[in-house]
Symmetry: C2
Subunit: 309 residues, 2 copies
């Protein structure tokens, strides 16, 4: 059982319109709704890979009920979301069919009360001892203390459970100091954390700040990993075109699933890159294309990073 | 008791954003949700005026539950909405705080099945005999026959209950032939129905097509009424600035409330104009400002239309 934490869950709504014209009225031609928030996306990919996953975080109101109804329909996925009074936020992505471009509107989400935050911490502490790995994913909702991830990392480490952190900004800065087993930043998050836009230097610096291993996702250049066992680059065999939504969450799912299967680092990175590419290529944002994954997993190139010598 | 019919109910969501920039991501600074659809707006104004109102139409899914929860919180309002399988549509209005302009996205709404349409007609036929007036408002959802309003008008007339129609396009064209007691088109709807952009000529023509009385809402020029008792113009005393959302629904509520209070036509028009202006002036879209209403109701100018002589 893997545990994913999504403190800022969402109902992701996608609208298709023939052409976006600001300050006019649009008839939406297609509406797609799905549970959102990085940890829920990671959980869906893990479940599709055949892993049992428990999801926790916060849920509230009518939108929260829709999110939970959808999650319980996913085989292998256990709902341990903690109720809050305010309604789970919506995100609305408006896709312009003419250009393919997306215009995004993100609601702020409910403010979590101190009592709700305490209730979550209890639930989390009860769940952690029986899982094989934990993923802490995404932004913090209003009301949750900025050091939240640091505390959750310490709880996992005290229970001897490996923990991966995927967040940004101050939550990332505070979290990394609590020594997560794996940090999964993208290029921007890594640069913001370390002040360096040079990935090799930045991953080394992120390890010095506390992360045991750092796996940076560098878009089309694949992954750069700095770990206690060595340093690697993993790159997809071809330039993958498509929708990058959820590609980073697929990397997290790939890393975690391979971790609990006790695969060595090069195999973890191979799986993560192939899953990420198969997500970019899938017709539905955030899903992954199984055939593309099966085809790519044998063709990802993993090289030992000689510059680390 | 007044009955309002809203076949295409909605959950109206308003987002405020600092500035709308197409093809970028926006943090929404304020979210406001309210039940929508013209008949529900009319019902809210009627309830605020102290009238008892029953609302019917269709409701479904999680969005429908939110709409119903909000409606039952309104004193004097009775929920007789008929369940459908598909979810009630959302509308999303994005207000650009810099320019004040609104960009609107309207979901299509659920397709109503023949069985659901039959269930509605039964509910409607059960309600009509015990009410003092009926308002049929707004567009028809997918699946409802285009002649729907004509049938609902005939049912009301057979029960001796006065009926007002406020819709557009083919639903209006088919509905007017069933001889509604009052037709409430705006300038565009009237022109589309009659082919004439000259309101005096067009209101006369709409009466020839079947409407017993026609009250055209002409924006800042107020109302133009052609009735069996005479022809009138009613104009607000000053140019009213603000948000016109819901101004037409306030006209309907004004006309209907004054009808059931047996007021003469000039008083009905005075109330409708004052309510409409008080809605434009209100800070919340679709609400009306009670003080502005009380102040304006004594200052609306109603003139007998001499050109009708």
């Amino acid at each position: 059982m893997i545990l994913t934490v999504t403190l800022n869950t969402a109902l992701d709504i996608t609208y298709r319109v023939p052409s976006l014209r600001p300050h006019t009225s649009h008839r939406v031609t297609e509406v797609v709704e799905r549970p959102g928030g990085k940890g829920l996306n990671v959980a869906r990919v893990l479940a599709a890979l055949g892993h049992e996953v428990t999801v926790t975080g916060f849920t509230g109101g009518a939108t929260g009920r829709i999110v939970q109804d959808r999650l319980t329909a996913v085989p292998g996925l256990v709902d341990a979301l903690v109720p809050v009074t305010g309604p789970t936020r919506r995100t609305v992505a408006v896709v312009d069919e003419r250009s393919g471009d997306t215009t995004q509107f993100n609601e702020p989400g409910p403010t979590v009360t101190p009592a709700e935050w305490s209730a979550f911490q209890e639930t989390y502490a009860d769940l952690v001892p029986s899982v094989s790995a934990v993923a802490l994913c995404g932004s913090l909702p209003p009301g949750v203390p900025v050091g939240a991830y640091a505390g959750l990392i310490r709880t996992a480490k005290a229970a001897g459970v490996p923990v991966l952190l995927d967040t940004s900004g101050e939550a990332l800065r505070r979290g990394v100091a609590a020594r997560p087993d794996i940090l999964k930043p993208n290029a921007d998050e890594l640069a913001e954390l370390t002040g360096s836009h040079e990935p090799l230097r930045a991953t080394r610096d992120a390890r010095r700040r506390g992360a045991l291993a750092v796996v940076a996702s560098l878009g089309k250049e694949g992954l750069l990993a700095a770990t206690p066992e060595g340093r690697w680059r993993a790159t997809p065999p071809t330039r993958i075109r498509g929708n990058p939504t959820g590609a980073g969450d697929a990397v997290v799912a790939g890393l975690l699933s391979a971790l609990v299967e006790h695969l060595p680092w090069p195999d973890r990175l191979t799986r993560a890159v192939a899953l990420s590419a198969a997500t970019v290529r899938a017709p539905v944002a955030g899903e992954f294309d199984r055939d593309v994954f099966d085809e790519l997993v044998g063709r990802v190139e993993v090289t030992t990073d000689v510059s680390a010598a």
